[in-house]
């Protein structure tokens, strides 16, 4: 999806990418990214927590006005406390 964002940006559409994988994001370098240290699948926060979700959406969209260098990754402060892991799945 980072590649798609790069392509869209070259065609005049600004993109902002809400990532849960910081290392993956740093390699592919989408034009702007907000890194949220949550489990993959909770990019915008916990279920039924509209305030957190809204704040992450707001921060991500705000990057369109503030980022001046392509490939910038901004770290989102988070109060997610429950430890989590990642299994690579079956594919």
């Amino acid at each position: 999806m980072g590649l798609v964002c790069r392509l869209l940006e070259e065609r005049g559409i600004a993109t902002t990418y809400v990532a849960t994988g910081r290392d993956l994001t740093a390699l592919v370098k989408p034009p702007r990214a907000l890194f949220v240290n949550h489990p993959m699948g909770n990019n915008f926060g916990p279920a039924n927590d509209p305030e957190t979700q809204r704040e992450i959406v707001r921060r991500a969209l705000g990057l369109v006005e503030t980022v001046e260098v392509g490939g910038t990754i901004v770290d989102m402060p988070t109060n997610w406390t429950k430890p989590f892991a990642f299994g690579p799945g079956t594919g």
Binding site: E10, L27, K29, F35, A47, L61
Partner: protein, 162 residues
């Protein structure tokens, strides 16, 4: 908590399956398109790669490889009208609240509050699973997606990979 090292985990996973070393897409820099208007005047769309489809549509293949399916989703879709099929991540929370990965209700609220101009008429779900044929993304599915966004006068795409 330290960020999870996905690159190491996935590289080892691919190697353990007997594959040659995975070739990550690595870039030194990135393009940047600056907008000439404020956020409050922008039209915003949304993209998830989390195997999300409306209940009236077929499920995504949860083990998808090289699946370039891309579903348009009406901006006014009900947040309760979604199913999630993707074996590459834990979508328990997303199934109880789709806004965890596809925050269409939050986007509509920001438009109602005047923080963004409009929600685009079509939101999007696709590019899920593992896509190895990247040239097809760059030459076919990506450019087709750009045209669809341009047809909807989209200024900003909020993209959420999973």
């Amino acid at each position: 908590m330290e960020p999870i090292r996905y690159v190491d985990i996935l590289s080892e996973h691919y190697r353990s399956q007997g594959n040659p070393p995975y070739r990550w897409s690595i870039h030194d820099d990135a393009p940047l398109h600056r907008l000439d208007k404020p956020l409050r005047e922008c039209t915003v769309s949304l993209l998830t790669s989390g195997g999300v489809s409306q209940c009236s549509m077929p499920a995504f293949d949860p083990n998808a490889r090289n699946d370039h399916r891309l579903d348009p989703i009406p901006a006014d879709a009900s947040a309760r009208d979604f199913q999630v099929h993707d074996n590459y991540y834990d979508h328990t929370d997303a199934e109880s609240d789709i806004n965890c990965i596809f925050p269409l209700e939050r986007l509509r609220e920001l438009a109602d509050r005047g923080e963004i101009g409009h929600v685009a008429p079509r939101l999007w779900s696709g590019f899920m699973g593992r896509i190895y044929n990247r040239s097809k993304v760059m030459e076919e599915s990506g450019p087709a997606f750009a045209k669809a966004l341009q047809a909807d006068n989209v200024d900003i795409l909020l993209a959420a990979p999973s």
